[in-house]
């Protein structure tokens, strides 16, 4: 049987301001019906461009070349624009990353679904609506009939992605391309959507391509996998082979840079790939990975490297002999030992550096011009102490109030009740100068948190200038010292942020936060905007700095793997409240709150073939303006009983370091 989709030596050349750029070069893969291909790669690897080439959706002026580009009996290379349009949404369907913006806001769900059938099959009216309802039910949407008349803004992100999937199934496609289908969703929703895609694929015998930067996602759902780097497939094969026995140094490095429990000591140094993902504008000679490869030698710099087979089901693009590549033990061993920087002593009896005492933050939200403002309790009665040397992680899904809590702890948001104290003093009484000397922050987006009109040197020096620390020469010396410490080359001093990569900018943000020698650094999603290999570099840096400078971190994140790797204590938040607090080891080995368990269950480690755990939280994350009564988690909790609906649970101590707020704790223990 010939494959459903056959891509052979696909190259895509895009028109750019400077001329041309080959975004994809010699990419080959096949997808059969009922088979899932995972394409994994960092930003700029060409994974999305390849899929857009298959869809024929690349901008005008793009050159697409291939020896074969075929779907079923149709040659996609020679197909006219009209023929391609007939295929799209009909034979090939595509699901995008952003469910919030991928549906047209001004038309109903029903119209957007039925128009697709009308377009390709000429079926409209009742028949199309019937099909739409059928599919909405299939993707697990309740009250499907009434959803047809709803608009996208009335649905949550998870529901919108379900609608998107249902919509793309309207015409029974043969192939679905899902480009980062769950990246914008919360972890618990991610598991649901991935399971849904897999189930549908099996049931309808569809070919599926999943594109993701997340090894965990690709590992769990794919049958085979293609690892892309700088526009090329550098390793491909059956998912188990590639992930269990990676051959290419890049694949090996990528896998080592992911914190996987059991494979790496918490707090240990993650394997990281030195350097940066190259720009596709580079005039490549030889192996595209050579300048970042620890095994590179002269032969790597010349000629082009062809894909060669490692076994029947695995191929790689490297000039080194297979035996030498297979012998990857040295780097793995180095990674496992780590330097145990976890051993920074923490005295839990010491006076807290930063604490929240029954802190509350209530916003008043007006929903309409005439309706009165309703209270939205973003942070509800939270007490939390941060002691010297701790890395406290605050975790929870979007909307749980973790960022508001961080803003309160930074003194950027006044609590509406309770108190925040820094070194025993009420933070509200401290001036900005006093606060900034002890308390600094690093934010998620290194693209927007640096002033584009100042040089790197000026950005880092600014706090010193504001605080009037030392002479200009002293300040500059300090800046150079901290730049070296965070791994920024000295010659960046006079560069501007736009000349730096994401990881380098995050280093600048870290340098700026540390220049005043603060005690506490609040890190709000410090790595979630970065590529995997760069994330490892930044995490290693944060751990190193903590050990060297005796820092205390408050880490706000949704990424449980990162938490497990660098946090010493974890606070789990749900709808403005703390539902569980524990030291990291206890929380991960013995989670007690049903919500914590669901969160942990949704973590996707890159385990090939393990499938996606079934996390069924029933309904969607509730609207914080109308929180459920009693325990706010009860509508999604399988253990919920009458008392949960009536009474809100308080945090109870399970051990010295472990507290949880759940009525069902004892029942569970029994």
């Amino acid at each position: 049987m010939s494959a459903l989709l056959e891509v052979q030596d696909l190259s895509v050349t895009l028109k750019i301001a400077e001329g041309e750029m080959t975004a994809v070069r010699d990419v080959s893969f096949t997808v059969n019906r009922g088979e899932t291909l995972g394409i994994v790669g960092e930003s700029g690897s060409g994974k999305s461009v390849s899929s857009m080439a298959i869809m024929g959706l690349l901008p005008k002026g793009t050159r697409t070349e291939a020896t074969t580009l075929r779907l079923g009996d149709t040659d996609l290379l020679t197909a006219t624009e009209e023929q391609m349009a007939d295929l799209r949404g009909n034979k090939i369907a595509m699901i995008f990353q952003e469910p919030m913006t991928s549906l047209n806001p001004v038309y109903t769900i029903g119209r957007q679904m039925t128009e697709l059938m009308q377009l390709h099959k000429g079926v409209s009216g009742g028949a199309a609506r019937k099909r739409a309802v059928e599919l909405l039910e299939k993707v697990g949407i309740t009250a499907a009939e009434s959803r047809l008349s709803q608009y996208p803004h009335q649905l949550s992100g998870g529901l919108r992605q379900r609608v998107m999937i249902a919509m793309m199934l309207m015409n029974d496609p043969e192939l679905i391309i899902a480009d980062e289908p769950t990246t914008a969703l919360d972890v618990t929703i991610q598991a649901q959507i991935l399971n849904l895609l897999k189930d549908l694929q099996t049931e309808l015998n569809i070919g599926l391509i999943i594109i993701s930067h997340d090894m965990g996602v690709v590992a769990r759902v794919s049958d085979k996998i293609a690892v892309m780097y700088a526009g090329q497939v550098i390793e491909t094969g059956a998912v188990a082979d590639v992930l269990r026995a990676p051959v290419h140094p890049y694949t090996q490095g990528l896998l080592e840079s992911i914190p996987v429990p059991g494979q790496i000591e918490p707090g240990g140094e993650l394997g990281s790939i030195p350097g940066l993902v190259p720009s596709l504008k580079t005039n490549f000679k030889g192996c595209r990975f050579a300048n970042r490869c620890t095994r590179a030698h002269e032969a790597c710099q010349q000629g082009s490297v062809a894909l060669q087979s490692a076994s029947d089901s695995q191929a790689y693009r490297c000039v080194l002999p297979l035996a030498e590549l297979r012998d990857g033990t040295s780097s793995l061993a180095a990674r496992k030992t780590g330097d145990g920087s976890y051993g920074v002593g923490i005295d839990m009896a010491s006076k807290p550096l930063l604490s929240a005492n029954a802190a509350e933050c209530t916003f008043r939200v007006k929903q309409g011009m005439f309706s009165g403002a309703k209270p939205l309790r973003a942070v509800d009665n939270i007490s939390l102490d941060l002691r010297k040397g701790e890395v406290v992680a605050v975790v929870g899904e979007s909307g749980c109030g973790k960022s508001t809590l961080a803003r309160m702890l930074l003194g950027l948001q006044d609590p509406t009740a309770g108190q925040i104290s820094l070194d025993g003093k009420d933070i509200a009484t401290l001036s900005n100068m006093e606060k900034s000397r002890k308390l600094q922050s690093i934010f998620q987006d290194p693209y927007s948190s640096l002033n584009p009109r100042r040089t790197i040197g000026e950005i880092i020096r600014r706090p010193l200038k504001l605080h009037g620390v030392g002479s200009l020469a002293e300040q500059q010396a300090k800046v150079e010292a901290i730049m070296e410490r965070v791994g920024l080359p000295r010659n960046f001093y006079h560069n501007y942020p736009n000349q730096l990569s994401g990881g380098q900018r995050q280093r600048v943000a870290i340098a700026r936060a540390l220049i005043l020698n603060p005690e506490i650094v609040v890190c709000d999603e410090p790595t979630s905007a970065l590529d995997v290999s760069v994330q490892a570099q930044i995490l290693n840096l944060l751990l190193k700095l903590r050990a060297e400078m005796g820092l205390t971190y408050l880490l706000i994140t949704h990424d449980m793997a990162v938490v497990e790797h660098i946090a010493t204590r974890v606070v789990v938040m749900y709808l403005g409240r703390v539902v569980e607090v524990a030291d990291t080891r206890t929380l991960f080995s013995d989670p007690r709150h049903p919500y914590t368990r669901a969160l942990l269950k949704s973590v996707l480690t890159p385990e090939p073939g393990a499938g996606v755990p079934n996390v069924d939280l029933g309904t969607a994350y509730p609207n914080p303006i109308n929180p459920p009564t009693g325990c706010t988690f009860h509508p999604r909790c399988e253990l919920a009983s009458d008392i949960c609906k009536a009474k809100s649970p308080v945090l109870e101590a399970l051990s010295e370091t472990h507290q949880s707020a759940c009525h069902m704790l004892e029942k569970e223990l029994a």
Binding site: M55, L57, E82, A85, D86, L87, R88, G89, N90, A93, M94, F96, E98, T101, S102, L103, N104, P105, V106, T108, E115, L116, L119, H120, Y151, H153, M164, M167, Q367, G368, M369, F370
Partner: protein
């Protein structure tokens, strides 16, 4: 949707009341109305006599509510200058101005929208450059100057259109072109930016992935979204049109409300000016409400639930 409309109407009523109060106060406090009616050379005695005769000696609030009360019953008062009911003046002059405004609006919408959409289809293409240059020129050229140039060109050098008066549709062509052109730049730019943004949006990418053809995408999926901000601006532009009619009507000797306002101000005709300001404000309010309703109809997110 009905609730939304009712709310907007209630809000509009509140604004109308505020405007009437502001108008009344402005005209009655800015200068002594008795002195204005009496004229520059009047003696103090004559002014006092007029004050009593016209009732200007009574407290301000009494006069305001009297005026407001009369307004409700359709009694707009009598013009001191024209010596006839203000209502009759309005009825007499309004059609000319409304025709002018409607014509100008048509020019604005047709030219602005078309050029805006065409420009957005190929940013930096020749059509885009032409549209933007046209917009800049239209913005830079003063209204009255364009009027005079068009009069010289199409009225004097090549006399194909009449340049003064309001007796046939031909009389309206030039004034509508002049008044309409002044609002084209805003509409054009907003349509262009809106359209470029929408065409680059994720849901347009979805529409392409669904297999829609470029024309279907433009008209079915993009236009409605791109029009949302334009609708609000157009309603404001109609307000400017009414304000601008004062100059345009004077240049083209049209006997409309703008000209009436001009003459009434010169003649210190307080009741007429008061009524005209209020009437313009009222039209403005009604248009904003219509704009809001139109926007809510176009965009479900605007409908307050």
């Amino acid at each position: 949707m009905l609730k939304f409309i009712l709310k907007r109407l209630a809000l509009g009523l509140a604004v109308a009341f505020t405007v009437s109060l502001a108008t009344f106060l402005l005209l009655n406090l800015a200068a002594d109305p008795a002195a204005m009616v009496a004229g520059e050379d009047a003696t103090q005695d004559a002014i006092e006599q007029i004050r009593v005769q016209f009732g200007f000696d009574r407290p301000l609030y009494v006069r305001f509510f009297e005026w407001l009360g009369n307004l409700m019953t359709g009694d707009f008062g009598d013009s001191y200058y024209w010596k006839q009911p203000v209502f009759d003046l309005l009825i007499d002059r309004a059609p000319v101005t409304l025709t002018l405004a409607a014509g100008a609006l048509t020019v604005t919408v047709v030219v602005g929208l078309t050029l805006g959409v065409l420009a957005a289809l190929k940013p930096n293409g020749w059509l885009d450059r032409f549209a933007l240059s046209f917009g800049t020129a239209a913005q830079a050229i003063p209204n009255f100057w364009l009027g005079l140039i068009l009069i010289i060109l199409l009225g004097v050098m090549f006399p194909i259109l009449p340049v003064s008066g309001d007796t046939s549709w031909k009389h309206f062509v030039l004034p509508c072109l002049v008044l309409g052109t002044s609002s084209v730049p805003q509409v054009l730019r907003l349509t262009r930016t809106g359209m470029i943004e929408v065409l680059g949006s994720d849901y347009i990418r979805t529409a392409r992935a669904k297999g829609f053809r470029p024309r279907q995408i433009l008209f079915r999926h993009a236009l409605r979204n791109a029009l949302l901000p334009v609708v609000s601006v157009i309603t404001i532009q109609i307000g400017y049109k009414l304000g601008g009619s004062v100059i345009t009507e004077t240049v083209f000797a049209l006997n409309g409300l703008g000209r009436l306002a001009y003459e009434s101000i010169l003649g210190a005709d307080v009741p007429t000016v008061q009524m005209l300001v209020f009437f313009f404000a009222l039209i403005f309010i009604v248009l904003s409400i219509l704009g809001d309703i139109l926007n809510a109809w176009l965009d479900p997110r605007m409908r307050v639930e």
